[in-house]
Amino acid sequence: MDLTPFILSFKLAALTTLILFVIALPFAWWLSQTKAKSKPIFEALTALPIVLPPSVLGFYLLVVLSPNSALGSFFEELFGVKLVFSFVGLVVASCFYSLPFMVQPLQSGFESLNNHMIEASYLAGKSKLQTVLNVALPNIKPSLITALIITFAHTVGEFGVVLMVGGSIPDETKVASVAIYEMVEIMDYTQAHIYSAIMVAMSFFVLVAVYVFNHKQKTKIGLL
């Protein structure tokens, strides 16, 4: 059995999760703290990938990232990197697609914090960054774990956007979900079963792990 599609899927998910964590952390913090009137607009933009058909998101990403676009040509000329039908392009597309799965749990975790705790940290002389890292994040562990794991799992399970932006280039953009689609197309149901069973088992165990962890955390702080 060729494991390359799985390795690609995990590599893509790991990179997306890491990049999104760095980007989404300050953004989620800002959303949780701001009283700006524009907040609902940013929240709606963040949530768009949840409601949009992947083909719509994939289409626009294809338009924006293609070598004919300003962004695509900028990356190609400056760094020699193609943003469509390449692994880098997949990472960029996945970051858009999985953005709400990282931002929303973090934002709701930050919003559930006792604001006096945050103010106590400021009064202790700590900066916003020190407060987020030392006080806010450790006190929203269930939300943090949910954000990281769901983002990872969701990226592994991504299909529509990946197919449109990355195509199916072996060892480059042919991730597990795309490989299964191709196997079904050529009626190789045995391989499709094996690949699909691995995906189902993996997704199930990831979700069980998240729920067990969150249940333990709630028990620990006396909510259950």
């Binding site: 106590a120 009064l123 202790a124 002389g125 006190n139």
Partner: protein, 268 residues
Amino acid sequence: MIHIDITKNLHGSEGNMQLFVNTVVKQEAFIVLMGESGSGKTTFLRVLAGLEEAKGSIKVGGVIWLSNDKMLSPQLREIGFVFQDYALFDNMTVEENLLFVNEDKTLAKELLAMTELTALAKRNVQALSGGQKQRVSLCRAMMKKPKLLLMDEPLSALDSAMRSKLQREIKQLHERFGTTTIMVSHDIREAYTLADRVWKMEQGKIVLDGTIDEVLSSYNSGHKVEVLKLQNQKATVCVAGEFLEVEVSESVKVGEYIEVVLNLQTCH
């Protein structure tokens, strides 16, 4: 000396009002700030701490905390703040809560010893009782050796025995560190025990400023209060939001209005 001259528009439960405080506080003073809920007490403390904006000026020992063109951030103000809900860092132990403010382990040990928390130093704060949590909160506030200690009803959620114990500890810490302290309280007995100056706030303004006896004498100027309960010639009345039990003559009945003279004895 602390010079305070601030104004801020507030949108309270009883409509709009203006917080207006213009006063001078002596170094090492212990002020108890009293007043009805919604009179602006908490907002006043938050403005002093830099947690809320206001117009005007605050000058503490020659350092400008607030002026028309400058607002010193809470991080840079030498403030200790004790919240009513403790606001401890739940992910840390008692000791870590203190050392997060200042890494001075000797000071942390001294404070924990003064408040009888030494044995709990390594315990997570979530495992503590309300009284213990408020003592940790008090110690944490003192770790900065603040010029100004602000306390927003720190004892209101505790039982009376714990209140008395913590009142002693607050007084002890105030004297040990020579801090200027402003504490919000509804409890006249607390003011008697702790304050050398009492402010009464109404609609965002300090309407009474003096010693506890001076402030209480203002309540005694012919105001009558209703007798709520009678038992063994002792009447329960409500004065300034505080239920008090006072001795009365036999002829007094429930529902009747009587004049109560507040002094150290009636408040205890």
